[in-house]
């Protein structure tokens, strides 16, 4: 991120972003959330952070990871251990969890030279070995019986704003990444590693950097998640299903877009909850069908769909309506 350039963040965007976050921050009072809605939205925030961070790797860099649960679990267990060890402020514990997960993710460095499905398969292997080892590692993770944190209803309530804050920071980072020269280089690596090298982009450096960033954010969200549920267990935290969830959220929302993972995570939480409660017999199938349709008909996911609708609406409106987007 070398260049200080004119108006990296246009005022309109910044203002809109701040207003949006502020609206969400006061939403629980304005909309009179039930505790259930409050909790569900909190969960959505946590997953938004994870999905957006996954997207930095999978979407911006093109390294599709099927092993992010390892980082999520790492963050969760490190912060849970810290919280259990004594009077550590929760935010500090989450942060440390994130840092450890970030460093931990460098363990996948050797896999970075693999491309396409090979990388994905390697991450599956990494994720599964981490799961088995941590489930066995009783002293750290409590083994298969997991770790319980003290129940603190206030904490769960406050997590709404912590989660919102994290999501806001992460989405903001995503925007900055995508619109800065940093993001350009990531996309260049995604498009063609060799050609990127030919113009001087050092792929491994950026891949490692994004891996660490992504791992750290996913780790922090794992820490928040641990506080949210008050009970975590390695088979669940490190599980393959969780790794797949990161991929699903992003793909449903739109890989490589800024808005996509956000929408994907919201849909993932809400739609799943809705289907589970309303169509318990069919939810798997409906979910699978949705996935199939998105892959076949809208590769950019919901974000792509919205973009299409927006273009359609714009073409209907008078052409004078709006200039180019910033």
């Amino acid at each position: 991120m070398s260049a200080a350039t004119p108006a990296l963040v246009p005022l309109r965007v910044a203002a809109g972003f701040v207003v949006g976050v502020a609206l969400l921050a006061v939403a629980p009072w304005i909309l009179d959330f039930t505790p259930y809605s409050h909790n569900l939205v909190t969960l959505a925030f946590l997953l938004i952070s994870g999905a957006v961070a996954w997207n930095w790797m999978g979407g911006f860099l093109g390294q599709v990871s099927f092993g992010h649960a390892a980082l999520f679990g790492m963050g969760g267990f490190v912060s849970a251990r810290l919280l259990l060890s004594g009077p550590v402020p929760a935010p500090l514990a989450w942060l440390v969890g994130g840092l450890v997960a970030g460093v931990f993710s460098l363990g996948a460095h050797p896999a970075l030279r693999l491309r396409g499905p090979y990388f994905s398969i390697a991450t599956i292997g990494l994720g599964e070995s981490v799961r088995l080892i941590f489930t066995y590692w009783e002293d750290f993770t409590g083994g298969s019986s997991g770790l319980s944190l003290p129940i603190d209803p206030d904490m769960k309530h406050q997590l709404y704003w912590w989660g919102l804050g994290l999501a806001a920071i992460v989405v903001g980072m995503s925007w900055l990444m995508r619109h800065s020269t940093f993001g350009l280089q990531l996309l260049a690596i995604k498009a063609d590693v060799d050609a990127a090298g030919d113009v001087g982009v050092s792929a491994t450096f950026y891949q490692d950097l994004v891996f660490v960033l992504s791992g750290a954010v996913v780790g922090v969200s794992g820490g928040l998640y641990a506080s949210y549920f008050s009970f975590i267990e390695p088979n669940d935290m490190f599980g393959f299903d969780r790794s797949i969830a990161f991929v699903l959220m992003t793909v449903i929302g739109g890989v490589g877009t800024i808005l996509g993972p956000v929408l994907g995570a919201i849909v993932f939480v809400l739609l799943r909850q809705y289907l589970l409660a309303s169509y318990p017999d069919l939810y798997l199938g409906l979910y699978g069908t949705l996935l199939i349709f998105i892959i076949l008909f809208e590769p950019l996911g919901l974000a792509g769909l919205l973009g299409r609708l927006a273009r359609l609406a714009r073409s209907w409106r008078a052409p004078a309506a709006e200039g180019g987007t910033p």
Binding site: S2, T181, L184, L187, A196, G197, D198, G200, V201
Partner: protein
């Protein structure tokens, strides 16, 4: 001539048993255009890949500004000032034209500290793509994409530019324009150029010297006029005429 900017000594590369490049020497002076020609499969692109660091040589050395750079990684060579283009243009399809150039402008010659965002539009202007800045490369014509490839290379502020068939494949009008652009790069930016080219009129008119490869070996070197008179070259290009091959 003073000490060469780039010198290549006995550079060889084997793939399995096949000797793709066999002890090739070359020197490039500052501000020179060196044409590299030869039939398909002569080893021209391999030569480029070895100089630009995309491939590791089996033996031989490359010196740049008097220092050895043999086998250095491509992205480090770019920062030193050696950059290549590809025969098959490889724009980053997911980036706009301007973004493609900006990425390249971030790197390259360390001595150039003009901010990338500032430099990229100027480079686009130089290659004549200023009006396409916001488009995706997929919408450009082949000639447009070749210009983009050039712009990307130029954005790194190279001292040595390796051009792999930038002119081939476009229509004659565009070819003339591209050739003119290559000349301007040398004349106005002072960049030294090695170009592989099949479009003979272009090579012959642009090059100060021409190097001819065949089957991985250097078979001739000299001014364009010398080279086209060389019987070995004629044979390599047009085939042997000595005896009939009737059944």
């Amino acid at each position: 001539m003073t000490a060469p900017l780039l010198s290549v000594r006995a550079l060889s590369k084997s793939f399995g048993g096949l000797r793709a490049l066999d002890a090739v020497d070359l020197e490039l002076a500052a501000g020179e255009i060196l044409g590299v020609i030869g039939p398909n499969g002569a080893g021209k692109t391999t030569l480029f890949s070895l100089i630009a660091g995309s491939l590791q040589p089996t033996s031989g050395q490359v010196h740049f500004e008097g220092r050895p750079v043999t086998g250095r990684a491509a992205h480090r060579l770019v920062r030193g000032g050696i950059v290549r283009t590809h025969q098959i243009v490889r724009p980053f399809a997911n980036l706009t034209v301007l973004e493609n150039v900006t990425v390249a402008a971030l790197h390259g010659n360390r001595r150039a500290d003009v901010p990338a965002r500032y430099r990229a539009p100027r480079v686009l202007d130089f290659v004549g793509l200023a009006d396409r800045a916001g488009q995706f490369p997929g919408l450009l014509t082949l000639a447009g994409r070749k210009r983009l490839e050039l712009a990307r290379a130029l954005a790194t502020i190279p001292r040595v530019l390796l051009l792999d068939e930038v002119i081939a494949g476009v229509n004659p009008t565009e070819a003339v324009a591209l050739a003119a652009l290559v000349r301007r790069i040398r004349d106005e930016l002072g960049t030294s150029i090695i170009m592989i080219e099949h479009v003979m009129p272009a090579v012959m008119s642009l090059s100060d010297r021409v190097l001819v490869l065949d089957h991985g070996r250097k078979i001739a070197q000299g001014t364009p006029a010398e080279v086209v008179r060389d019987p070995g070259v004629i044979e390599a290009y047009l085939g042997t005429s000595t005896e009939a091959t009737a059944p």
